[in-house]
């Protein structure tokens, strides 16, 4: 019954700006705020850029200069796989003696998946293994660069105007100083950093790379508006009657991956440099602590800081479901796993009748009222043969089995809806959490270096929803 272990069967509720229900494996736990966090209530920051095929690290400034593409690796324009360089031997006349021919190596790019080669589009073989391949030049580059410069200057000028107005009218409310247009233009180039988001009314000074330096003169750049043409090139006469050769036509995906050219014919699909991927770090928005910080090295998958929810919060999983029948009580076996090393006490409680979080449940649930005790996670338990099994007095009606840091327990489910395609139950789980990361509080007498306060336990409550599947026919 592997389908019972699917992650979206058991979801935990995250009370952030938005109420999000997500499986515990996709959540983070901020141990400073002692709350669950999901991907939508944390801020994402770019840590580093790297190429997925050659694993080369690149600092952000260099990445931005190269338009977020790797210098060495290419993507197949046909199937987006990574291209590999292959060599052939071609006879070429020696420079010294034109009559003799020696074997020289010629390199071409080939895709191992769809068998596309650079010779298909007419790119000549190069004599160097890397660095010889050029991307075709975009004919509109100059115009685009000029437009970007013009808009940079415009944004800078408007920012200056705003600053001046802000100094002049300190007491008046800010929104008047901002025109819709200004916000729109500046936000277009905004970096989306947390500095920008946190102070929504303040002037944006972190437009790095876009604002002119203070010493530079303000060059007045003017651009001509794009000319409107009266006459358009007519379609070729055989446009409707010519039979289409399907291998020649590019697919929409192939075309849109090259927005500069968008070639319609497969013989114009040139390879492009590979996109860089980035490593991101996550930060809690309330307390500004890092929740997830990967290592800098692209070859390493470990994390420097990894505050994931599964290593702090006990996890509920469904073990077996009997046949569920409408309005009849059935016993469902769940497991509860303790991720921390100390003993955890867990209490379950059904949701109240007027609970605002309880919107999805379609069945009544009777949870065991007693407190469940979970043993700590002991990594060496399987090797330690002499350890005596701890004796917990388990009520056999409630606890089905106990195995190191996991217990199986029963809940009773009474489906309420007839012809329910997915019986959903929800309950609250309350457990104690020992916060080892609590900041040191100075003692109240005001003494000098106080001893670190003993880690105290706090009680956390989570709202859990389970999806048990359809009613038995």
């Amino acid at each position: 019954m592997a389908s019972l272990l699917q992650p979206d069967r058991v979801v935990y509720l995250v009370r952030g700006e938005k109420k999000i229900r997500a499986p515990l494996s996709q959540l983070y736990f901020c141990r400073y705020c002692s709350e669950l966090r999901s991907l939508e209530c944390v801020s994402h920051e770019v840590d580093s850029h790297y190429c997925p095929s050659c694993l080369e690290n690149m600092p952000s400034a260099e990445a931005k200069l190269k338009k977020n593409r790797c210098a060495n690796c290419f993507d197949c324009p046909c199937c987006m796989h990574t291209l590999s360089t292959r060599a052939t031997n071609i006879p070429a006349p020696l420079p010294d003696d034109p009559t003799k021919t020696a074997m020289k190596k010629a390199y071409y790019l080939a895709c191992g998946f769809c068998r596309w080669t650079s010779r298909d589009v007419g790119m000549a073989d190069k004599s160097v293994a890397s660095g010889g391949w050029q991307e075709p030049e975009n004919p509109h580059t100059q115009r685009i660069n000029k437009l970007i410069e013009y808009y940079q200057q415009l944004a800078h000028r408007e920012k200056q105007d705003r600053d001046r107005k802000k100094m002049a009218r300190r007491r008046q409310c800010m929104p008047l100083a901002f025109s819709q247009h200004t916000i729109h233009v500046v936000e277009k180039y905004g970096l989306g950093t947390r500095l920008q988001r946190q102070r929504p009314g303040a002037p944006i000074s972190s437009l790095s790379g876009l604002s002119l330096k203070e010493g530079e003169e303000q060059k007045d750049i003017t651009i001509e508006p794009a000319p409107a043409l009266d006459e358009v090139e007519p379609l070729p006469e055989d446009c409707y009657s010519r039979p289409i050769s399907l291998p020649e036509v590019t697919t929409l995906r192939q075309r849109l991956l090259q927005p500069d050219f968008q070639p319609a014919g497969a013989s114009q699909l040139h390879p492009r440099h590979k996109h860089l991927l980035m490593k991101r770090s996550l930060r809690c928005r309330k307390c500004e602590h890092n929740l997830s910080k990967p290592e800098f090295n692209p070859t390493s998958i470990k994390f420097k800081i990894q505050l994931v929810a599964v290593s702090y919060i006990p996890e509920v999983r469904i073990m077996s479901i009997p046949n569920l029948r409408n309005m009849k009580e059935s016993q469902v076996l769940l497991t509860l796993t303790n991720p921390v090393e100390n003993i955890t006490h867990v209490t379950l409680a059904p949701c109240e009748d007027d609970d605002p979080d309880d919107i999805n449940s379609t069945a009544k649930v009777v949870v065991p009222g007693k407190q469940l005790v979970l043993a700590g996670k002991d990594a060496a338990a399987e090797y330690d043969e002499l350890a005596e099994p701890q004796d917990f007095q388990d009520d056999p009606d409630v606890v089905a089995f106990r195995k190191s840091n996991k217990i199986g327990f029963f809940i009773k489910v009474i489906p309420q809806k007839e012809e329910d395609a997915d019986v959903t139950v929800s309950f609250k789980i309350r457990h104690d959490f020992r916060n080892l990361a609590a900041p040191v509080r100075p003692s109240e007498e005001g003494g000098a270096a106080a001893a670190p306060a003993p880690a105290e336990s706090i009680w956390l409550t989570h709202h859990v929803e389970l999806r048990l599947g359809p009613l038995a026919p």
Partner: protein, 211 residues
């Protein structure tokens, strides 16, 4: 209930596939040209002709059930490849009026590991990649590449230099035929005899001329 008449006796309830005397002497109806390297561990059943410079790996299976198979020169048939000339599904083996059709395979083809080929006519320089599946009604011309795990089942003639790839078996035409495997063939013809016994070749029989 199945009834089969075989060798003057009636067997009720069992399939009899192939003829017992041919199974006893597997090599007797396989004509292997001189210069071909066919390992003993490969399974060759029925009327099979193998051309010169062809390499058949151990555990490859070439089964000529419903007609003879003629394999040209310079082919590379890797392990667990299955080349089978079988009866179409809805025709009983002993039904009358079914003429045995010959399966013809050209030169310089590569049948990679685990592929299944039932195509009756295969041209030259094709590559049939691992775990791909060719139906009986497909005719491969030259230079085609059938990608890994792709199934080509429709009744059609695949044009030259076609590449079938991807999970949806999409196609494209490449500009030149795939590279020939001469280096690999030479290497295998040197190395395989060091580690495997080879089936006996029949001297003096060249491959029959293909139309």
């Amino acid at each position: 209930m199945i009834m089969r008449k075989h060798a003057g006796r009636i067997f009720i309830g069992c399939h009899i596939s192939g003829r017992l005397d041919e199974e006893n002497a597997q090599n007797s109806s396989a004509k292997i040209a001189a210069g071909a390297v066919v390992c003993v561990e490969s399974e060759i059943r029925g009327d099979v002709t193998i051309g010169a410079r062809t390499v058949v790996h151990p555990k490859a299976r070439i089964i000529a059930e419903a007609g003879p198979i003629i394999i040209g020169e310079g082919n590379l048939i890797e392990e667990q490849a299955l080349i089978i000339n079988s009866y179409p599904e809805n025709i009983m083996p002993d039904a009358e009026g079914v003429e045995p059709k010959t399966m013809v395979i050209g030169t310089n083809n590569v049948f990679e590991v685990g592929c299944v080929s039932q195509a009756l006519k295969i041209g030259d320089n094709n590559v049939i990649e691992s775990k791909s599946d060719l139906g009986r009604n497909v005719i491969l011309t030259s230079g085609c590449i059938v990608g890994a795990c792709c199934q080509v089942n429709a009744c059609e003639v695949v044009p030259e230099n076609t590449v079938v790839y991807g999970s949806n078996c999409i196609r494209r035409v490449q500009s030149e035929k795939p590279q020939s495997q001469t280096l690999q063939l030479d290497f295998l013809m040197k190395i395989l005899p060091n580690y495997h016994h080879l089936k006996k070749t029949v001297k003096g029989s060249g491959t029959p001329v293909r139309n």
